[in-house]
């Protein structure tokens, strides 16, 4: 081979492309080919989801899922392979890692992969890069109109009804469900969407928070700033997907909605209790 050829070959190596190929393996490509998700001519959907970005995210999070948190998922067969559904887990661990791990579990579900959507806080779109990236991998701001239109388009949506009350709670309150917002139940009733309850065990131990540094949080405009480890600890995470719960009819009062939300909370409590009982080791 002449020197010129060697140079030509070197010039054609694209490190970005090579890295992309290493992360987005043929298995991931095959998974996405099975996902029932309509996109436009450039691979986008109206909420900014982008197929290529989602593939890349699955490639990156695989390491986190399999090697760092060593996640075990039970009951994935309960997630319907298509059609509208609300995935409702408990929220914990300061960072929304539970959402990431559930999203990965759903995207790689052997019983039928789904590109799940997650509802996120409203300040994210104002953060450069992060806002676009979150949209590209499927997250959208938690506006009821978004949720409603997504259900009409048969999407799978991850909702944390506890919101920051759940993720920001202290270590001493671990595995205690905080107050649930009722929005998800209204949407489920309105659009006749089944609810898949999820118990997440292990995320509480990834980032135990001993106090909330409230003045700093106020200063930064964040909901909370935990006093605890700076990076998530490698705790084992267990996901328990429950059987879909279908609520018929429309609620006549907020009290009736509350009663149904209580049923969902009760199911999640049972799933968490099962997870805690079956857990052999935390790390």
């Amino acid at each position: 081979m002449s020197t010129v050829d060697i140079f030509k070959q070197l010039a054609s190596v694209n490190p970005g492309e090579a890295l992309y190929r290493r992360l987005v393996t043929p298995e991931i490509e095959a998974l996405f080919a099975r996902i029932p998700k309509p996109v436009g001519s450039f691979g986008y959907d109206p909420w900014g989801y982008n197929e290529n970005a989602a593939k890349l995210a699955v490639g990156i999070f695989r390491w986190l899922y399999e090697h760092y948190f060593r996640v075990t998922a039970h009951g994935l067969e309960h997630v319907p392979p298509q059609g509208r559904v609300l995935i409702v887990p408990n929220h914990s661990g300061q960072l929304p890692l539970d959402g990431v791990l559930i999203g990965y579990a759903l995207a790689t579900n052997p019983h039928g992969p789904r590109a799940a959507r997650a509802m996120i806080e409203r300040f994210f779109p104002t953060v450069p890069w992060l806002g676009n990236w979150l949209n590209a991998v499927g997250a959208v701001i938690g506006d009821p109109l978004n949720c409603s239109k997504m259900l009409e388009q048969e999407e799978a949506i991850i909702v944390f009804p506890e919101g920051v009350r759940g993720s920001g709670k202290l270590y001493k309150q671990r595995y205690q469900l905080q107050r649930f917002g009722n929005g998800f139940m209204h949407l489920a009733l309105q659009h006749r969407a089944p609810i898949v309850p999820v118990g997440v065990v292990g995320c509480e131990e990834t980032m135990p928070s001993f106090a909330n540094i409230a003045p700093l949080a106020r200063l930064l405009g964040l909901p909370y700033v935990p006093l605890g480890p700076l990076l998530p600890l490698p705790a084992r995470v267990y996901l328990y997907f429950g059987e879909p719960m279908v609520f018929e009819g429309s609620a006549k009062s907020e009290e009736e909605v509350n009663a149904r939300v209580e049923q969902v909370k009760e199911r999640i409590r049972e799933l968490i209790a099962r997870g805690l009982k079956e857990r052999q080791q935390i790390f």
Binding site: F42, G48, T126, G131, N132, D143
Partner: protein, 318 residues
Amino acid sequence: MPRSVSHKKTVLVTGAAGSLAQRVIARLHDRYDIVAVDFRRKVETDAGIPSYKVDTYKRGFEDIFRNHRIDAVIHIGRMFAHESDRQRRYNANVLGTKKLLELCRKYGVGQVIIHSTYFVYGASAYNPALLDEDAPLKASEVTQDLVDSVELESLAQIYLWKYPELHITILRPCNVLGPGVRNTMSLLLSRPVVPVLIGFSPLMQFLHVDDMADAMVLAFEHNRPGIYNVAPDDWVAYQVAVQQCGCRRLPVPSIPPVLPKLISNALNWNAFFPPYLINYFKYPVIIDGRHFRETFGWRPRRNLNDIFSYYRKAKLLA
């Protein structure tokens, strides 16, 4: 008085010098008598189409209604921010439309099509996607320079509910692009180097000007008064669109938020990247065009690639 003797309906088209209006006129003129008006210049048109240079908010405008029996008005004419100062623009866009609607009442015009814009929804970080026609119009929250767009809309809506005999149809299209289009987005994508905000690439919708002309003609001929978003079922991120149009990206610092506005002001980017539209290059305003598509059975016939390839080719020829 040269009253029309034919049995054809007479349609007044404003903004006749623009490429959208010319396409609408071309589609209508064998079936209707057209009267073309524009505030910029007297438009050269086919034989048999009377053409006037007139400001809609001035008195001379009424003569057109006196001299022709106008049956319908297609109001496309709009003064862009780069064409004049805020005061004159307000006069032309808001007071001009008010005058036009008043004349429509006075002379018994039976149908009015108003060409609005998706800008009226306002670009905010809190926008949900797929905005319906009943979403609040928050553009004036973003900037005073869009107050005229929102007021024009509100005015048209008041007339829509108050005077149903005018049969008003308000169309809110997404970004309209294509040969001859001189709006902000089209001027922007015609440039070799295009500003983009660092870290922001909002999702956008684009429509070919020929498809928009088809949509206007459909809305006119089917006459189903109301408010409609006009947009395709396809979406693309701004920075991808910029590259697809063969433009090179010029990264502009996006934080703090006032910085890109200062830069745009200082470099006089008013025609293609104006300070008051910065937010539209930062946050998505995605509208739901389903209501229009289903009511009128309309589908755009040109896809995103058809739209972008025009800008790509124009650059290669330059």
